[in-house]
């Protein structure tokens, strides 16, 4: 049985990702970082690992905003997850950002996903054509 393919802008993506196996996440053509309410990273797919130059074992179980992606630790990203958690609201926002993959500034689109009841929040990373 086949499911509709997952892309960066698929609606209701958090639920779909939740059901994905690690292998299925690795097959996606955009970066996936999943983390818990304590910000510890649970899921880190192959695309993101390759882009950042970091193997998953250096990243998994590390706090996202301080030890994995400190560049997201500001009001544009980290604060939005905190706010969503504080007001128990759903977060699904896409914004343009610049990541420093292997210290090169790279324009990306970020999609931020959080559900009030969900165990995992997601930051999705899509490269933008320059």
């Amino acid at each position: 049985m086949t499911v509709a393919p997952i892309s960066f802008d698929t609606p209701d993506l958090a639920i779909r990702l939740e059901q994905c196996s690690p292998e299925e996440l690795d097959a996606l053509d955009f970066g996936v970082i999943g983390f818990g309410p304590d910000t510890l990273v649970h899921r880190y797919n192959a695309f993101e690992s390759e882009a950042a130059g970091l193997s998953p074992q250096r990243v998994l179980e590390q706090p996202l905003f301080t030890n994995v992606a400190p560049c997201l630790n500001n009001f544009m990203v980290a604060q939005r997850f905190e706010d969503a958690q504080d007001d128990s609201s759903e977060l699904d926002a896409t914004l343009d950002y610049v990541l420093t993959l292997r210290m090169r500034p790279v324009k990306v689109a970020l999609r931020l996903l959080a559900n009030p009841g969900g165990a995992t929040r997601y930051v999705l990373v899509q490269r933008q054509p320059r």
């Binding site: 970091l54 030890n67 420093t100 500034p105």
Partner: protein
């Protein structure tokens, strides 16, 4: 990017992670500011400042908060070396938005084509240093050798209770100052009645209140003085006390000698290098203090935001030195147009702001309109050329401290935008009227 994706080299990966996790921002850029490499903390700190969502150029990313950088880099004439070292860059006045308020920036020129930048968030460090400085000022006031001091008793309202010879020696005033407010020791426009009350309330709250600045003698001459106000012990009002019972003691001292050194130190941190006006930091600190005080002792506080019209066209036509001449000319007019108690600052490339304590909307509109007219009536000169230019002004007022500095600035900016949209060379004020609120130059809307 076509990077090899061979088996991860442990050492390389460790090095990458070291840079990812370095708790300071690191940037390598061309001498024109074009960013070649940067680490995550640099992106964390710079992204919120980017106006177009990109981080291609360091100077452009920082233009809104440190307009002088490109100019500093261009003027650096050594083959290599520090362009600036720990420059304080003020982002906002704090408030609702979390995140850094002050960045430290060091620029190191590597060679003719490359430079490195180190950027870090020093908000907390500056806060700690400020507290230390206050302690230092307090010790100065008590311990520094001075030739003489005047000891003045003040009543609950801050009026001088009784003349004594020390007042005569230090200030030259005679017995006729009894019953006058202590503002008599301040030059005209250097203190408002509300500020006088603020100092008394601060003395009540903290046990003392201290300020330094220009003070006035009876003959009109001025000196650099420190004024320490402390509540007198046992001043619980007793039945039968009249208003003129001493409630505070004011120690007024001439500290002229140490002034130059302190001024220089203060100047470097609080002055815009191009115009000699106050900088963003000075404005944010003064505005925060004024709003804090006006919550305790309610009064309106006005902010003007002033922007030179068509400044880009001036730069294009006359070059950056011509643009700088306009900015200095405008700074000169600004410096001459306001009270001593007002604070005039350059807060961006061609953007200036003036903080007006104890000033309501009608008065603020009047002075803004007067300023607009006086800029329009004069011209900057550069290379024997006359450069005519105009300004647009946004006015906003916080009533009784009921706004943050950032909100006040946002309102003044919105009014400025309205003035620009309505055709420039205009004054507009917040709240914006339903229709174009910008005043016609010929028709200053002044009650």
């Amino acid at each position: 990017m076509s990077r090899d994706s061979a088996a991860p080299n442990e050492e390389y990966e460790a090095l990458i992670q070291f840079l990812y996790l370095a708790p300071v921002g690191l940037v390598q850029a061309g001498i024109d500011g074009q960013i070649a490499m940067m680490n995550p903390i640099a992106a964390q700190l710079l992204m919120p400042l980017s106006r177009d969502g990109s981080l291609d150029n360091l100077f452009i990313a920082l233009e809104g908060v440190a307009p002088e950088l490109r100019c500093l880099a261009e003027r650096h004439d050594q083959p290599a070396g520090k362009i600036c070292d720990g420059l304080h860059v003020h982002l906002n006045a704090g408030g609702a938005k979390r995140g850094p308020q002050i960045l430290s920036l060091t620029l190191l020129k590597l060679d003719a084509s490359r430079m490195m930048a180190v950027i870090s968030d020093i908000t907390e460090q500056v806060r700690r240093e400020r507290r230390l400085r206050q302690n230092e000022a307090w010790l100065n006031a008590i311990l520094t050798g001075v030739t003489d001091y005047a000891l003045v008793s003040l009543d609950l309202q801050g009026r001088i209770c009784e003349w004594n010879p020390s007042i005569g020696r230090v200030t030259g005033f005679g017995a006729d100052i009894e019953g006058q407010p202590y503002a008599i020791f301040y030059p005209d426009d250097a203190i408002t009645p509300e500020h006088q009350q603020d100092r008394l309330r601060e003395a009540d709250a903290n046990g003392w209140a201290l300020d330094e600045g220009r003070r006035l003698r009876a003959d009109g001459s001025t000196f650099w003085g420190s004024a320490l106000i402390a509540p007198l012990p046992d001043r619980e009002p007793l039945p039968g006390d009249d208003d003129a019972t001493p409630a505070y003691c004011l120690i007024l001292r001439d500290i002229g000698d140490g002034r130059a050194q302190r001024e220089r130190r203060r100047d470097a941190a609080y002055t815009d290098h191009l115009t000699g006006l106050a900088n963003r930091r000075a404005l944010f600190e003064a505005a925060q203090l004024e709003l804090d005080r006006s919550r305790v002792n309610p009064r309106p506080t006005a902010l003007l935001v002033i922007d030179a019209d068509h400044f880009k066209a001036i730069n294009d036509r006359h070059g950056h030195p011509g643009g700088d001449a306009v900015l200095r000319h405008l700074a000169g007019i600004l410096g001459d147009s306001f009270r001593e108690v007002d604070l005039v600052a350059r807060i961006g490339g061609e953007e200036f702001a003036v903080l007006l304590p104890s000033t309501g909307l009608a008065r603020a509109n009047t002075v803004a309109e007067r300023l607009r007219a006086s800029v329009a009536a004069s011209a900057a000169s550069f290379d024997d050329n006359r450069i005519d230019y105009a300004v647009s002004i946004g006015v906003a007022v916080a009533s009784d401290g009921g706004a943050s500095v950032d909100l006040l600035l946002k309102h003044a900016d919105a009014a400025l935008y309205t003035a620009k949209r309505a055709g420039r060379n205009r004054v507009a004020s917040w709240p914006l009227a339903p229709q174009a609120d910008a005043h016609q130059p010929e028709n200053p809307d002044v009650p």
